[in-house]
């Protein structure tokens, strides 16, 4: 069964996805933390998968409500693996050179307490609005 049969279907789907994303971004729903892991060849080669798996299990262990998504290359190939953490109501922060130790630190300090840790990659471009 095809899910989108017409323009209206597409628009409806866009709307609903947008809402979901917005909800996630604004973190209105019970202070959801969002973590994106750059999973392109560079990232994976540098160990992004391991980091993501580790963070997922660690946050779960600690009972933290974190949504993980994989995404494509963020462009910071020099600092792979890179992850982007968005705390409710905050600008996204990108961390580079994330190994398991750094992942622990990010969970313990930034995700838990909003305390920044070293390894931030300053974002140097604007996102265009669709």
């Amino acid at each position: 069964m095809t899910k989108i049969k017409s323009l209206a279907d597409l628009k409806a789907m866009k709307q609903s996805v947008q809402e979901k994303i917005d909800t996630r971004a604004k973190g209105t729903a019970e202070g959801l933390v969002q973590v994106k892991v750059a999973m392109a060849t560079c990232g994976i080669a540098a160990g992004a998968k391991k980091v993501m798996d580790y963070m997922m299990s660690e946050t779960e262990k600690r009972g933290m409500d974190v949504v993980f998504t994989q995404t494509g290359c963020m462009g910071y190939c020099h600092a792979e693996p890179t992850i982007e953490v968005t705390l409710p109501g905050n600008e996204p922060i990108v961390f580079g050179y994330v190994d398991l130790k750094k992942a622990d630190e990010i969970i313990d300090k930034y995700i838990k307490d909003g305390e920044l840790v070293e390894g931030i990659i300053p974002v140097n471009y604007e996102k265009i609005n669709n």
């Binding site: 095809t2 899910k3 989108i4 049969k5 017409s6 323009l7 279907d9 597409l10 628009k11 789907m13 866009k14 996805v17 947008q18 979901k20 994303i21 994106k36 750059a38 999973m39 392109a40 060849t41 560079c42 994976i44 998504t69 994989q70 995404t71 494509g72 290359c73 963020m74 462009g75 910071y76 190939c77 020099h78 600092a79 982007e84 905050n90 600008e91 580079g96 305390e115 920044l116 840790v117 070293e118 390894g119 931030i120 990659i121 300053p122 140097n124 471009y125 604007e126 996102k127 265009i128 669709n130």
Partner: protein, 592 residues
């Protein structure tokens, strides 16, 4: 509150560590060490104005901060909440201080159009793509536009092929649409073979649906119902993501029969490349798709007339396609305001080599090399001297300090003896020998030449041999003339784009680094210390303490000497591997 101090190489060299330390101690003095944290970050990519200190959450951006400014920042900004105006960034145009870094022009240096979704959405979730306005362009085309209107929009946008040559995309589509046939094809060239370029891979891995959507639009515009993606087999992840995306698009009715109820059918299949750079050339690519040796054929006929299976075929590369959906949704007028007069939009570059921020960047056409290297790229690694940037890979040439302020677009690059190519940008410092670089690229071309036409098959081999001779110290001045003549003839007389551009690395380095060639030939010297035959390793008898580390690590036992006595290198035996230099703790070994 957080104080972010740039810990990038450039800023580090300008004592950013010291700044951080001073900030911390000043905070302590004020008893704020628990409320405010000082964090060292990666490079802000704004090294010209470094060191940088950024205050969060108010986004204040202090530039050219010195260690002694730390106290003032704490006292004024943190304690009293007043910005330190003199350290704020000054907008070069209106000379105004910019308090909020969001308003700094610097952040507009990069503009992500083709990469708009890379790093934002989950590439394996079509719903996220739809949420990011994905497939809206397709819906617009199918629902509101005629094929002619679609082509016209692309023509108006001024988009040019991002794969190398820069042929106007709209015009290409128009030619293919005007050739009538019972079957036409749309082909996405994802055989990114340029060593040092990986933007296509990143797009396919990060945003596969944008390519699928664009190909479908392309199919609608020219009247094709089958799309083929020709992708390098060396990109397993990209292949995987594409396969998932194609499945999802089918499932959601965005590929297949009667898309969005429009009656338009379109399907996409994959074909795998098998490691032949020449297959980036569209006629070679088509032969490879047909299961043959990927040898190019003479054009005309163009693929738009007779391509895959002898049917009209439109070939575009990945990055070109990634631009299409957003041009349709935002309109040609939006797109053609970006870039320069003849090169519209943005270009993705893979910044690599001796540069701090190796990575994928997307910049508007017309940006200068200086901005790319020193601002976005964070400058040269280890604070070394910038020497050249190689663009366009084996088809391109080198740009040097004199080109630092030339706006980058198709025509300017061509005029400076290089080309846009697929967008590899390899930055080189003084440790790169330009003769060796030319040789490196020629080695590549010799290996990748298909062998069909004589200038490329034999000519490039000869170019490589002459370069080899020069790097071995056996060159003559006559060789330079031969390189030039041969290079010109190969460009002029070769069958396809590979041969027509393969001498560029040689010709442009001769043009820009003539002295370095002459040094190799006349003085038998390689200033970068790369050409082994021209080097000799010597142990400084004063510096050497006789620790024997070098001798123990020499793979060919060329180093001798008594313990605690200065050592010697037997230059006859030495293979110039450099192992001794790496092991010497006393800087006693040098190359001359």
């Amino acid at each position: 509150m957080h104080l972010l101090v740039c810990g990038g190489t450039g800023c580090n060299a300008s004592r950013s560590q010291e700044i951080a330390a001073n900030l911390k101690s000043s905070l302590k003095d004020n008893g704020l060490e628990n409320e405010v944290q000082v964090i060292l970050t990666g490079c802000f990519g704004f090294c010209e104005k470094g060191p940088i200190v950024k205050i969060m959450p108010d986004n204040t951006f202090y530039t050219e901060v010195k260690p002694e400014d730390a106290t003032e920042i704490i006292m004024e900004h943190v304690v009293k909440g007043r910005k330190v105006t003199r350290l704020l960034y000054t907008d070069p145009e209106n000379k105004q201080h910019v308090a909020d870094s969001k308003h700094m022009g610097f952040y507009k240096k990069q503009m992500r159009i083709a990469l708009r979704n890379c790093g934002y959405i989950d590439p394996q979730n079509i719903e996220e793509y739809i949420g990011a306005d994905g497939y809206a362009a397709l819906a617009k085309c199918l629902g509101e536009m005629t094929p002619e209107q679609v082509i016209n929009e692309i023509k108006l946008s001024g988009l040019r092929g991002r794969g190398g040559g820069g042929f106007p995309t709209g015009l290409k589509w128009e030619i293919a649409s005007k050739n009538h046939a019972d079957q036409k094809y749309v082909v996405c060239n994802a055989d990114e073979g340029d060593p040092g370029a990986f933007m296509d891979r990143s797009i396919l891995e990060g945003d596969p649906h944008s390519v699928l959507e664009a190909m479908t639009i392309n199919g609608y515009a020219i009247g094709a119902t089958i799309g083929v993606i020709y992708i390098r087999a060396e990109y397993p992840l990209a292949i995987n993501r594409l396969l998932v995306a194609i499945d999802q698009a089918h499932e959601y009715g965005l590929l297949g029969k009667d898309i969005l109820g429009s009656g338009f059918n379109f399907d996409i299949e994959l074909r795998y490349g098998a490691g032949a750079f020449v297959c980036g050339e569209e006629t070679a690519l088509i032969h490879s798709m047909e299961g043959l040796r990927g040898e190019p054929t003479f054009k005309p006929p163009f693929p738009a007339q007779s391509g895959y299976n002898k049917k009209p075929t439109n070939v575009n590369n990945v990055e070109t396609y990634a631009n299409i959906p957003i041009i349709i949704t935002k309109g040609a007028d939006w797109f053609n305001k970006i870039g320069t007069e003849k090169s519209k939009g943005t270009k993705v570059f893979a910044l690599a080599g001796q540069i701090n921020n190796v990575g994928l960047i997307e910049v508007p056409m017309g940006i200068t090399l200086r901005e790319v290297v020193y601002e976005i790229g964070g400058g040269i690694k280890g604070g070394k001297e910038f020497k050249a940037v190689q663009t366009g890979g084996p088809s391109g040439g080198c740009l040097t300090t004199k080109h630092l302020d030339t706006p980058i677009d198709y025509d300017n690059l061509l005029a400076s003896g290089s080309m846009m190519g697929s967008g590899g940008m390899v930055v080189m410092d003084e440790t790169s020998c330009m003769v060796a670089i030319a040789k490196f690229y020629l080695e590549f071309t010799v290996e990748e030449s298909c062998g069909k036409c004589s200038p490329c098959r034999i000519g490039n081999k000869r170019l490589h041999e002459i370069l080899e001779k020069i790097t071995k110290g056996n060159g003559t001045m006559e060789d330079l003339d031969n390189l030039r003549n041969l290079g010109r003839v190969i460009k002029d007389a070769s069958l396809c784009g590979l041969g027509q551009t393969s001498p560029n690395p040689v010709l442009s380095t001769i043009e820009n680094f003539y002295d370095e060639y002459v040094e190799h030939i006349k003085d038998k010297k390689c200033r970068a210390g790369v050409c082994k035959s021209l080097m000799q390793y010597v142990i400084d008898q004063e510096q050497c303490v006789g620790c024997t580390a070098c001798a123990r690590n020499c793979p060919v036992n060329a180093i001798s000497g008594e313990k605690k006595m200065p050592h010697f290198i037997n230059t006859e035996l030495c293979i110039k591997c450099g192992a001794c230099i790496e092991k010497c703790k006393f800087n006693a070994i040098s190359i001359c």
